[in-house]
């Protein structure tokens, strides 16, 4: 690799000095990129009468201090990981799927419908897997609309999936206000609770359910498929150069449809896990913003399924801090979105060295 020292006519001593300086400057820049958003957000909190130091300490403490807090972080990270995979997998084929939000919602809708209407009396061993399949089916169906529009209608998938998110939210709204409304809800818009045996098993002393193991397993699976199989190779070739892929006889439409359907299924499973693991019933806001967080986690992880484990955990931690903020200091939990956005802005701004 050529450095400035190779190109500029410098004395050997100066060249060595430059060589020593560069890694130090690089690390310095990384530190600034990581710390700056927290400092900025801290100033913002100070202005609003909240002690930022206390918040950050309690954020770390609630994430790592005890098993309950660690579990809460993993609970938040689970859907982010799955919707992150839903963004990362198509991204490797050169598609930008921002429809995780809607795919998750429809997955949750299908899983709830299956649980309430069909699987009510089944034992856990049969009911939970079937509910998972229903969720995956719902998500895949919703992504299938995007895939159809992309492959047959040649509509850009970014716009299509983004618009379908809004349609999905209204569809869920229709069902929880209408056919799927709990008759005993005193007119609140939510579905009946799913049967007790259909809830995911929970670890003692936490709210953490086994869904997060499932999510990690899917991340490893997606990595294996991408890195070790012929299909994964074809996906990566297509993502690298579409024209080369066409010339090599790769069936582009088939792969586009395939990755989108798989992505939808993953996001749909995230929706099912939200229902069976956390909420127990469908609400109009079930899983809201996880789809977007997943996209951003995938982007931060350079669409690598295993790095996504780390970034979704980080975003999960910040999301937990949002709850902390709301309970502890009365600020709306959405204000933590600002911190998330700031982190991402600085990452983007600092990313140039790494071939953006």
């Amino acid at each position: 690799m050529k450095t400035e020292a190779d190109l500029l006519p410098l004395s050997p001593q100066a060249a060595r000095a430059v060589g020593r300086l560069r890694p130090a400057r690089k690390i310095g820049r990384q530190i600034i990129v990581i710390l700056a958003p927290f400092v900025l957000y801290g100033l913002f909190l100070l202005y609003n009468g909240v002690n930022p130091w206390e918040l950050y300490v309690s954020m770390v403490r609630s994430a790592f201090g005890d098993w309950f807090g660690f579990g809460e972080t993993l609970i938040k990270a689970t859907p982010i990981l799955l919707t992150g995979l839903a963004a990362a997998l198509p991204a490797r084929a050169g598609l930008i799927n921002v429809g995780g939000e809607g795919q998750l919602a429809i997955g949750a809708l299908f899983a709830t419908m299956a649980a309430v209407w069909l699987l009510d009396a089944l034992p856990a061993a049969a009911g939970i897997p079937l509910m998972l399949v229903a969720g995956a089916l719902g998500g895949a169906l919703w992504a299938g609309v995007t895939a159809l529009l992309k492959v047959a209608g040649r509509i850009n998938e970014t716009i299509a999936s983004l618009l379908l998110n809004y349609v999905a939210v209204f569809l869920v709204g229709y069902f929880v206000h209408g056919p799927l409304k709990d008759p005993h809800s005193f007119n609140w818009p939510f579905s009946p609770e799913i049967a007790r045996q259909l809830r995911l098993p929970v670890f003692d002393g936490t709210r953490l359910h086994i869904g997060f193991l499932l999510a990690i397993a899917f991340a490893v699976l997606v990595w294996l498929v991408l890195a070790k199989t012929g299909t994964g190779f074809r996906i990566r070739v297509l993502g690298g150069n579409r024209i080369a892929a066409e010339r090599a006889g790769i069936r582009v439409s088939l792969i586009y449809a395939g990755v989108l359907l798989a992505a939808g299924a993953l996001a749909g499973i995230a929706g099912m896990i939200e229902i069976a693991g956390i909420e127990g019933r469908l609400r109009p806001t079930t899983g809201a913003t996880y789809g977007y967080l997943g996209f951003l986690a995938a982007w931060m992880a350079w669409n690598h399924p295993l790095r996504l484990l780390l970034t979704s955990f980080l975003l999960g931690m910040i999301a937990v801090a949002g709850n902390e903020l709301e309970i502890g200091s009365g600020l709306p939990s959405s204000s933590v979105h600002m911190l998330m956005a700031l982190v991402l802005f600085f990452l983007m701004g600092g990313a140039r060295g790494r071939k953006a």
Binding site: P90, A91, R92, G94, L95, I96, V98, L149, G153, R154, I155, N156, T158, I159, A160, L162, L163, L164, N165, Y166, V167, F170, L171, G173, Y174, H177, G178, G239, G240, R242, Y292, F295, L296, W299, W302, N303, L331, P332, S334, S335, V336, H337, M338, M340, A341, L342, L344, F345, M348, G349, G350, A351, R352, K355, A356
Partner: protein, 303 residues
């Protein structure tokens, strides 16, 4: 009833129309800004807050535009100076806009303003049907109608327009002419943010006269879609935005008539209609994408 829907189409489509004209400028220069949604929200809150403080809706509209511009400055910096991925940056901006406005807007939720009100144009508004549809609106709507032909003229009949479009098609040409394409793009993105902000302000100061968290509900995204639907042409973008507005108006009319259709299907209608519109256009014709922009879509999504 049809006159009602058409009037409503203009009334509720104007915010989308302003934002889509702004996005059109930005995309013609080669930068897609998915953060238009965030810019609109910033404009809606900025415009509303300023109107509450000063009581002057004109200052509100101006402040709304400036707020939108400020937010789009972040996008411009990241994309043009730091080489960030346009779609990721735009999406983050949308997120940022939702978070910031939800937070700062808390105390404005219950505020009330006078804002802009419909000003019927004398004589013209007396024309049956047409007068009511076209000439009985708030001042921002009139201005936005004038904006479209003005933008068309600037884009296709002036030197500035050629420079702007060259930035989106072939930046080498601009280099050869001694114009800095990055400056052109900066200006285009900021102009886009300004118009999106005014669009947002129209929504809160002239249309609903209130501020609600996340009140744009995807209008910014629709505006981006409308630009593609419009094949990057101002008049078609206007048509698309009014189509969206008509679907919104239809929803109100159906509710007033008490027809037995679930409101949720009507809420969906504008978004589905937007998709259908895209589908029709894409079938008809390709390759009207500004060349620089097609690189954004085709680029390796890793970046």
């Amino acid at each position: 009833m049809i006159a009602d829907i058409l009037t409503g189409a203009l009334r509720s489509g104007t915010s989308v129309m302003l934002a889509s004209q702004g996005e059109l400028i930005s995309e013609r220069a080669g930068v897609i800004n998915l953060g238009t949604e965030g810019c609109m929200l910033a404009g809606a809150l900025g415009g509303f807050a300023t109107t509450v403080w000063t009581g002057n809706p004109w200052l509100g509209a101006l402040a709304g535009g400036l707020c939108g511009m400020l937010l789009s400055l972040i996008h411009a910096c990241l994309v043009l100076d730091r080489g960030a991925n346009q779609l990721a940056s735009g999406l983050t901006l949308m997120f940022f806009g939702i978070g910031v406005t939800a937070f700062l807007g808390r105390s404005f939720v219950s505020e009330q303003i006078v804002g802009f009100n419909p000003v019927p144009i004398p004589v013209l508004s007396d024309i049956p049907v047409l007068g009511e549809v076209l000439f009985n609106h708030d001042p921002l709507t009139y201005l936005s109608m004038l904006l479209v032909p003005a933008l068309w003229f600037v884009l296709f009949r002036t030197r500035i327009g050629i420079i702007l479009r060259a930035a989106g098609e072939r930046e080498e040409v601009l280099f050869a002419c001694g114009v800095n394409p990055r400056l052109v793009r900066y200006a285009a993105v900021l102009a886009g943010g300004f118009l999106a902000g005014i669009g947002g302000a129209q929504l809160s100061v002239a249309y609903t006269h209130s501020w609600v968290e996340n009140m744009t509900a995807g209008r910014g995204v629709v505006a981006v879609a409308m630009v593609i639907f419009a094949a990057w042409r101002p008049f078609r973008a206007m048509l698309g935005a009014y189509l969206f507005g008509a679907a919104q108006a239809l929803q109100l009319t159906v509710q007033q008539q008490g027809l037995p259709i679930s409101p949720y299907f009507l809420f969906m209608a504008p978004y589905v209609l937007t998709l259908a519109a895209l589908l029709i256009v894409e079938r008809r014709k390709r390759s009207s994408v500004p060349e620089g922009l097609s690189r954004v879509f085709a680029a390796d999504a890793d970046g």
